[in-house]
């Protein structure tokens, strides 16, 4: 089955060894939480930038699956199909 790809914003790429895209091999649909666990396993600082120590997605971090932000779907339990692209995008926030 095709990999799932996770696309990082440029500001986070140094925390992923300079990679802009992380890939997760899969043999079927996985939840976003499992996907994040998988692709950030080797990048603990990146993991902490996305989620706090309770596992919650940080307030101004948005994750899009097939064009929809996961908070409008099933949150981190949203399923991602093989071959899909997941986007990590920071909110437009701050002053």
């Amino acid at each position: 089955m095709p990999d799932i790809t996770v696309v990082l914003p440029s500001i986070l790429q140094p925390l992923a060894g300079g990679q802009s895209v992380l890939t997760a091999p899969t043999d079927g649909p996985v939840t976003v939480v499992k996907l994040l666990d998988s692709v950030t396993a080797g990048f603990p600082v990146l993991a902490r930038r996305l989620r706090d120590e309770t596992g919650a997605l940080r307030r101004y971090v948005n994750i899009y699956v097939a064009g929809d932000e996961v908070r409008r779907l099933q949150g981190l339990e949203t399923e991602v199909a093989p071959g899909q692209e997941v986007l990590v995008i920071q909110s437009v926030a701050g002053g």
Binding site: R48, R49, E53, T54, R58, V61, Q90, A93, G94
Partner: protein, 368 residues
């Protein structure tokens, strides 16, 4: 003279709403700057640890998008290190997540490697490895008063930590909750607010619930501490068993800053603001006030400060160094930083037009 040999210089660290600036000086008048470090992240806490023959700058960093973390530099900001798993991380059983690091406090010379931190949600942490990893203080976390502690305007946090250099006495101040004292190094904690008003509560003299803005210890008198409260300036001479007002002689009893002299008995500095509902320098005239008699009298210090200043000075946006005479430093929410090399008698602007200044720390260091 103390701390003024030719091999020494001064480091000034300025944490703002959008990054950190670092300055060095040989004379506390001419400063060289680097920054912004951590651009777009707020720096609400800084600790400069000059123990063990090195200068380690520790910073609490909080990015609106990417959360809080602690980083440190041993080369005056040329490089920064962030522990991979995070220096401060709530244990899983607490169900809590770190929001903001409000205080980083290197312990005494006699306890090398020990660094304390105060954080939001209200919590105290202790590191024994120079601030690289902190452990949650369970005594305060599990305190039965916790459910009744509240949030000040800036959040619910332990913002002041004062550790006795020889004994196992630790004082913590939180907003809101008040002053808590431990006599056993942090294992157990008791509220110690008798005499401090909480005028905003139904009972204005509760055991706890006060909104203490900052506490500091008198370096020369055992058991004496000073507190700048949410209205009210206080002193205790009995290790916080009781507090008495020392606000008489000040133009206002509101403010956030409380600084004490690194060695001399009875000397403390505050920066009064007019009132809770009017958080500007009284009449727009910015001034530091110093007492040299433990709050009996206050001297207004404004030489070198502007008139027509309408920005406040936050609780950690002020610092003293350990030189003789002591240096006094502070920054405003308007992004101007002032320094005095003579204990506040004269100030000079050292940097302006920065983002809101959240934290200022200064230290005498070897050969910066």
């Amino acid at each position: 003279m103390v701390g003024m040999t030719t091999a020494e210089s001064f480091v000034l660290a300025i944490g703002t709403k959008k990054g950190l600036w670092l300055a060095t000086s040989q004379d506390r008048r001419q400063w060289s700057f680097t920054g912004p470090h951590f651009l777009m992240a707020e720096i609400p806490s800084i600790g400069i640890d000059t123990r063990e023959g090195r200068t380690r700058i520790m910073v609490g960093v909080r990015n609106e998008h990417w959360g809080p973390t602690v980083a440190h530099s041993d080369d005056l900001g040329t490089t920064w290190t962030e522990p991979e798993q995070g220096a401060i991380r709530f244990p899983e059983d607490t169900g809590a997540a770190l929001e903001r690091i409000w205080q980083i406090y290197p312990d005494a010379e006699s306890r090398p490697g020990v660094v304390w931190a105060g954080a939001e949600p209200i919590s105290v942490w202790k590191s024994t490895d120079g601030g690289e990893h902190f452990e949650l203080n369970r005594g305060l976390w599990d305190h039965p008063h916790r459910s009744e502690w509240g949030a000040g305007y800036g959040g619910a946090a332990a913002h002041s930590i004062v550790v006795h250099p020889a004994r196992e006495t630790v004082h913590v101040a939180m907003s809101t909750g008040g002053v808590y004292r431990s006599l056993d190094g942090g294992t157990s904690w008791e509220a110690r607010n008798r005499g401090i008003s909480a005028y905003f509560m139904p009972d204005p003299n509760p055991e706890f619930g006060q909104c203490v803005h900052k506490i500091a210890a008198d370096a020369a008198v055992d058991g004496r501490l000073y507190a700048q409260n949410h209205h009210g300036v206080y002193r205790t001479d009995d290790n916080a068993e009781s507090w008495n007002s020392i606000a008489e002689g000040l133009p206002a009893d509101f403010g956030f800053v409380m600084l004490t002299h690194p060695r001399r008995e009875g000397t403390a500095w505050v920066v009064p603001l007019k009132a809770d509902g009017e958080r500007i320098p009284p009449n727009g005239e910015l001034a530091v006030h110093r007492t040299d008699d433990a709050g009996g009298t206050w001297k207004r210090l404004s030489n070198g400060l502007p008139t027509g200043e309408y920005n406040s000075v936050l609780r950690d946006a002020a610092s003293v160094d350990t030189a003789e005479p002591a240096g006094v430093y502070f920054g405003t929410r308007g992004g101007t930083v002032y320094a005095s090399a003579d204990e506040g008698e004269t100030f000079a602007e050292v940097l302006a037009h920065l983002p809101d200044v959240l934290c200022v720390r200064a230290a005498v260091v070897a050969g910066a």
